[in-house]
Symmetry: C2
Subunit: 420 residues, 2 copies
């Protein structure tokens, strides 16, 4: 039986979860896998905080983990960009295998971190950085290699999925559900990273880079948050048989990659529509495998620990660590994309108005699949019009809308539709 | 770049799919994985059949594949128990790595095949033997190792899922949909293996063996087909918010394993309920990861080829082939199990009848959660009663039903309910 010394960088919720899992399940791991992991040193910010971990393991000096020659595997769950990214690079340069749950450090410093792993032939594992327990990194790297992956659509942020699930079910407003989620500890006091899609963009950068074998930088991802979503949009979508999700979408078409995070309608019978509460799911299409979905808990101490310890075992058993199958050529990002658009607008209820709106769409090549007028004429003499386009260029829809006269049309929501 | 010679055993639909995928995607595999696979020899039953494969590769002598020292990797997709199982063992004994899509040979000869892999230190890979493209074997073996898996529930037969999805949607009868499925090539001319649950039982044997680290033999799996399912059951279930599936269920409780394949109701908002058409999905619960689901195409040439080629790459890159983490102790099978039961019966519509039925359930400790009377009194003076029990012992429900007087109760359907 092999004994392997492990060092931790960070020991918050997730670090404590990993420690607990290794303690409580170590016997089974020994029996099934023939390896015993021994946590040797844990870097923490404060030595004083009470933790269910022996005091002797803790240190506040990073070099106690990064430079300890006994430590072969370093696990990082400090979160945040720095100093985490620098520590990851230093650990790799010291020949240590790195296992990280930190999507932000990894996505923001991808090239630097991967280069360090390559140059020093050190192992780099990051299953836990995307979607907690869901083995989506393994699926792309180790199970779908024989596929030209054409698209990835993911519900990869649990907080926003919880909020949107409740808004859909209860017809509630965004602010009210957010406040509730914050009370329940499901949203941060500052929810920006989740609700503005930053968290999803980091994860999508990692997923699409692996799927398309080209580095898709975070900055190249179009990002639109969910703070503007209204109960009326949710309800109008439902009347078209659509369910609203914050989706991370990446597609490869004609050599160009489109990658975007935004509120998205999916048909209510699409597998992604039934992903409720704080669950995550990633829907992948490949030219050989067809359509697949991976569903599970995308956050939480134990689900994340499950992924981290599986990386630990994989790293310990691998003689020649794999590098991401990503080529050095830069990624060509698509400048526009095609999809069905849901467009809701407040429009003057007068003869000729609808014809002008439809005419403007038509001039830009945007073909309308269906239209409904919603509710009664308001006090300003306007009605709500809801359009569903056929597949149309994003740019054309934007141009058409910008051309519609201000006095004719106001309060426009545009929500993309995928999965039809 | 490494060049690896591959031999095929069998070349039907799936074999041709693998050949096509290696031909058409070989360039990308070379670039991404650094390996070139060369198909060297293909065992076929008839040399005369027309195939889109060079004639020179074909042979009808198994030893041309099994004894060729140039062939390091042998892929098997002959199907059926024999001669496939013997070939697998011979290939392993010859030191070749074996990659198989054959659930029947593998499940029926598990111990013999695994022993040959262990004794001769040969690689054994079988991702494609369960659920086509879905990487469920990898998930259990390589991603969920840090979990005590407590339950597996799978829609692991596409034919029956197609039939049940249509019965649910259209209210159609089993025989009509089966005939349609046969016309469409979605069901075999002799559908027994699918509709009686044999196919699912083979797959469940493999999945539960890996999940629980004990060999769960096919013969130990309780199996009940779907030929007795009626549109009335489907409809009554729907009124309770339940969707009917042919589920493969395996649970580990108190050291004992229960494994069973039977028609099963799941709540309509359970992720398994939304798995439609011929798709497969496996729902796994683990003590750390929580609930997960893996969804995709469980059959077909290209989805299966996707899994086979991923095994090919994994096998080619692995220096020390893993053995299944299964201990030698025999598996203790549970003699009874607990679940919610849906019970529909035709009962005399007379004073005291319901009280007798309920009394009999109660005497056996079966507690009723809800009951509805369905439709009107028939010409025999009977009505349909539908019960949903609380969690109850299977044996107790059976005993109670067998005790209900024949003249009081007839035509009983019992369908288990999971996932509530």
């Amino acid at each position: 039986m092999e004994r392997i010394a492990v060092g931790f960088l960070g020991c918050g919720n997730i670090g404590c979860g990993v420690y607990r899992l290794l303690e409580s399940f170590g016997g089974e791991l020994e029996k099934n896998e023939g390896i015993r992991f021994e946590v040797r040193r844990i870097l923490v910010r404060s030595l004083e905080k009470t933790r269910a971990i022996p005091r002797a393991l803790l240190t506040d000096r990073p070099e106690d983990v990064l430079n300890d020659p006994q430590i072969a595997l370093v696990m990082e769950f400090m979160g945040g960009e720095e100093p985490a990214a620098s520590y990851l690079v230093r650990a790799l340069q010291n020949g240590k295998t790195v296992i990280t749950a930190n999507k932000m450090a990894l996505a923001s410093h991808w090239e630097e971190i991967v280069r360090a792993a390559r140059d020093y032939q050190s192992g780099l594992y990051y299953e836990a950085s995307v979607c907690g327990a869901i083995p989506i990194i393994r699926a792309i790297n180790d199970s779908l290699q024989a596929n030209r992956i054409t698209s990835i659509m993911g519900i990869i942020n649990g907080t926003t999925n919880y909020i949107l699930s409740r808004m859909s079910r209860e017809g509630a407003a965004y602010g009210d559900v957010l406040a509730d989620a914050q009370r329940l500890g499901l949203a941060e006091p500052d929810p920006t990273a989740d609700v503005e899609g930053y968290d999803a963009a980091y994860k999508l950068s990692i997923l699409s880079t692996l799927a398309f074998h080209r580095h898709v930088p975070v900055e190249a991802i179009y990002r639109e948050g969910m703070t503007g979503v209204t109960p009326l949009d949710v309800q109008c979508g439902r009347e078209f048989g659509l369910t609203l999700k914050l989706l991370a979408v990446a597609k490869m078409e004609g050599g160009a990659v489109e990658a975007r995070v935004h509120p998205t309608f999916v048909p209510e019978d699409h597998p992604l529509a039934s992903v409720g509460e704080a669950f995550n799911a990633v829907y992948v299409s490949g030219h050989a495998c067809g359509e697949m979905m991976f569903y599970g808990r995308g956050a939480g101490d134990m689900p994340t620990a499950s992924a981290l310890v599986s990386d630990l075992i994989k790293a310990a058993k691998t003689k020649k660590h794999p590098l991401p199958a990503v080529c050095d050529e830069p990624c060509t990002m698509a400048q526009d994309w095609q999809c069905v658009h849901f467009v809701r607008m407040r429009a003057k209820d007068e003869p000729g108005a609808l014809s002008q709106v439809c005419g403007t769409f038509a001039r830009h090549g945007v073909s309308i699949a269906s239209m409904v007028q919603k509710g009664e004429r308001d006090e300003g003499g306007c009605v709500q019009l809801v359009f569903l386009t056929h597949r149309a260029s994003e740019r054309a829809v934007r141009l058409a809308l910008s051309e519609m006269a201000r006095d004719l049309v106001s309060k426009v929501s545009v929500i993309r539709v995928e999965g039809r």
